[in-house]
Symmetry: C2
Subunit: 460 residues, 2 copies
């Protein structure tokens, strides 16, 4: 039963399991106590911190363990912003950061601060020059992920770090997706990560803050973890997390090479096997194990369900799989199709057979979902009126795009189709469909019947 | 090697270990995902929540899991204060709450709020009428522990809850020390606890918020745990925590009875075996497994070290064992002796033999520490001048009290001894010594030589 969602969570690494079991026996006591059980716990904690710091590339006293990657990000951002309050209240982040970063930004805005989102290109990467231009003398902190969690694109961290250095702005790197594969390029000021992404247990994140970076922990004081992560240390899990990080790093180069080959197979074969697919994310500067594609005229939730029935666990950034019924902010920022979105992230040890079986099944599953929605046949005889209006109000993704595709052939080249829709996914997917199909997206305006009117001109 | 510090942390309960191992295999995936591994994780999370809610005595949707008891307290206090911001900004807490509560109070004060500490009597308990009198129409929240973590005294939670209800003020109960022994009396609005105190793993706390209590989670938003505990759920540990709570509750009545007998043995025998000892905390309304006593003329850290060498792990509220060199705020609020303080908290399964060996060793260890410090012999011939001054400036606990005890016999009844000291422990321990010795503590004033002058009148 192949599990293809390693970017969400990975099963516990055997080394982590072993370390966890040992530390449950040896490391349950309070490391702040002076008696032997406490001293033993302290030694385990110190050793785990040293191992993690070595993998991160920092000093042990620069690194604390937090209860999760999310908490590491929250503590890192709030502490760095407070530490540089006198400099200014501007936070600069990329538009495709993890929700923990964006939520910390919303909290900053609610408290009266300013957040600037740096846009990304269609590959999902920021342009270092655009990022640099967003930095100014009132910028307290900049945040950039090492690699994107939804599309796998690596960010130009070294170049952005250099720009931050030149501007005198500390850079927080969310390394959650990449730390298991290798260290983050030099130049960061703060770094956050999450153990269950690298085969460690849940309940452990890490936050590194370089010496010299102004940092004022927020929230109630606490003596543990240098005052940066309140509460009793989750010691057995910390020990397991550090052991796992060391173990996956030892295997990282070979496994990355192998998984990169499997992902390349998916990148190449999916568009060959399935018509009307867009593979998104940078094809070269990317995580080794992650690939994302979107299928026109497909409902993401239904496709996930079909894949799950066949034993494949994947995730999706389609609006129908989100509780808010909006497409992933990452796909939106990239301006790529969100309907029928599938993220495949391979855990270590995934076999070529698993990938081949996935490629074998996918075309049939996509086809059956499309049949169910009545997706258009490719090409239809032209002719008919110059301007058509399609009323898709009240209909959800992928219906508005399907209806657009069905009628575009009925207007002559130069004619227009107006799609009325109140589905949030349409705002992203209609322009993305035009891009894929070589049609012209003219723009949107409020529809007199409610919702939005999207205007498309047939050019081919 | 008897471990007598269960109030800090307890070894993992065998049931917790078993549940943890099973959940590492079955519950590593993201419970928010729709595929089978995610659904399985969601089922485990739901089942753990139901089990914990049953033990707490609340509805499952009133309870969230947090990364620690400290985080549960922090989130509970900040959320409740924010939820009732329009009512007022007053927080009422007992003076002997856990540091996590007091630190949350300090954060509230730093943000412009007001904190009122309700004093306790010499037993460590608040007087419900005094607590009630502290509540007013601008009180947003009251906090009271179920039982004290340092001296074991149970608080009158039911009476205080009734007073809070009458005043329309929500009551947060920190049940960290007692939840394994049984549910908290009815009437609370919020409840916080910590799994590693009941044989569960580290990394899990719980926060229950009754329906109808106004609550506004603070900090960055997050979709997990009803928005009250951000970050990926520490699921295997949560499963283990719930299993352990159920298991210890099944054994609680019998084990409480047994440990209560062992603690009674310590409460009775220590003052018989060791001269100049004060056993503190309520002798009846108390936790079953915890007893605290203080030994005059003894340095707490040295005594802990001697006990550790003999294989006994205990903790202490003496100033010398604290990083700030101040005595425990609990002992201070109770006005009891802090020097030579020893807290014994027995884990489940402690044997009578362990306790007997402790009682056998203790007198010799206390005696040898006293010899090292040159503690006074009991009684000395009276006579000499009417007023003596002892300069203990620059000397740490227990020296100032030892020097006072050495010279009190040299002034006649009615005469005075003035002790000059700049040790923070003296402020608590000199009055406590007077109380124990039946001498009159007159008061303190700034000393012209620096530090404080403590005036004692000999009356017996």
């Amino acid at each position: 039963m192949p599990y293809f969602d390693a970017a969400s969570a990975a099963p516990l690494h055997p080394v982590a399991r072993q370390a966890l079991l040992a530390a449950l026996d040896e490391g349950w006591a309070d490391p702040a106590r002076l008696y032997r059980e406490g001293r033993r716990a302290r030694m385990l904690l110190d050793a785990a911190r040293e191992a993690a710091a070595e993998a991160v590339g920092c000093r042990p006293d620069e690194l604390v363990f937090t209860p999760s990657g999310t908490r590491a990000v929250h503590a890192g951002i709030s502490g760095a912003l407070a530490g540089r309050r006198r400099v200014g209240d501007r936070l600069v982040v990329s538009a495709v950061e993890h929700s923990s970063v964006l939520h910390a930004g919303e909290a900053h805005t609610a408290a009266g601060g300013t957040v600037t989102e740096v846009p990304v290109g269609r590959s999902g990467a920021v342009d270092p020059e655009v990022f640099a231009a967003a930095l100014d003398s009132r910028t307290a902190l900049a945040c950039l992920q090492s690699a994107n969690h939804e599309v796998g694109t690596e960010q130009p961290v070294a170049e952005v770090a250099e720009a931050c250095r030149a501007a005198g702005v500390p850079l927080l790197v969310d390394a959650a997706q990449s730390l298991g594969w290798g260290p983050v390029p030099e130049g960061w000021s703060l770094l956050a990560a999450s153990a269950h992404k690298w085969g460690g247990p849940a309940g452990v994140g890490l936050l590194a803050v370089r010496k010299g970076v102004r940092f004022a922990p927020q929230g109630p004081a606490d003596e543990r973890e240098s005052g940066r992560a309140p509460g009793f240390e989750n010691l057995p899990a910390i020990v397991a997390a550090a052991a796992s990080l060391r173990a996956v790093r030892a295997e990282a180069a070979a496994e990355a090479e192998r998984l990169r080959g499997l992902v390349d197979r998916i990148r190449v074969r999916v568009p060959e096997l399935v018509p009307d697919v867009e593979v998104v994310g940078d094809p070269v500067r990317r995580l080794p194990h992650l690939v994302t594609f979107s299928c026109l005229y497909v409902d993401g939730e239904t496709l996930l369900h079909e894949l799950d029935r066949e034993g494949f666990s994947v995730s999706s950034g389609s609006s129908c799989t989100s509780s808010t019924l909006t497409p992933s902010h990452v796909l939106r920022a990239m301006g790529v199709l969100s309907e029928g979105n599938v993220r495949v992230s391979l855990p270590a040890g995934t076999t070529g057979q698993d990938v081949d079986r996935f490629l074998e099944l996918l075309p049939g599953l996509v086809g059956s979902v499309r049949d169910r929605f009545g997706a258009p046949e490719p090409a239809a005889a032209p002719g008919g009126s110059e301007a058509l209006v399609v009323d898709s109000l009240g209909k959800r993704c992928p219906i508005p795009v399907i209806e657009l595709a069905k009628v575009i052939g009925r207007v002559p080249v130069g004619g227009t189709v107006t799609v009325l829709s109140d589905d949030e996914a349409a705002r992203l997917d209609i322009p993305a469909w035009c891009e894929m199909r070589g049609q012209e997206y003219v723009g949107e305006e409020p529809s007199p019947k409610g919702g939005t009117a999207y205007l498309v001109r047939r050019v081919s």
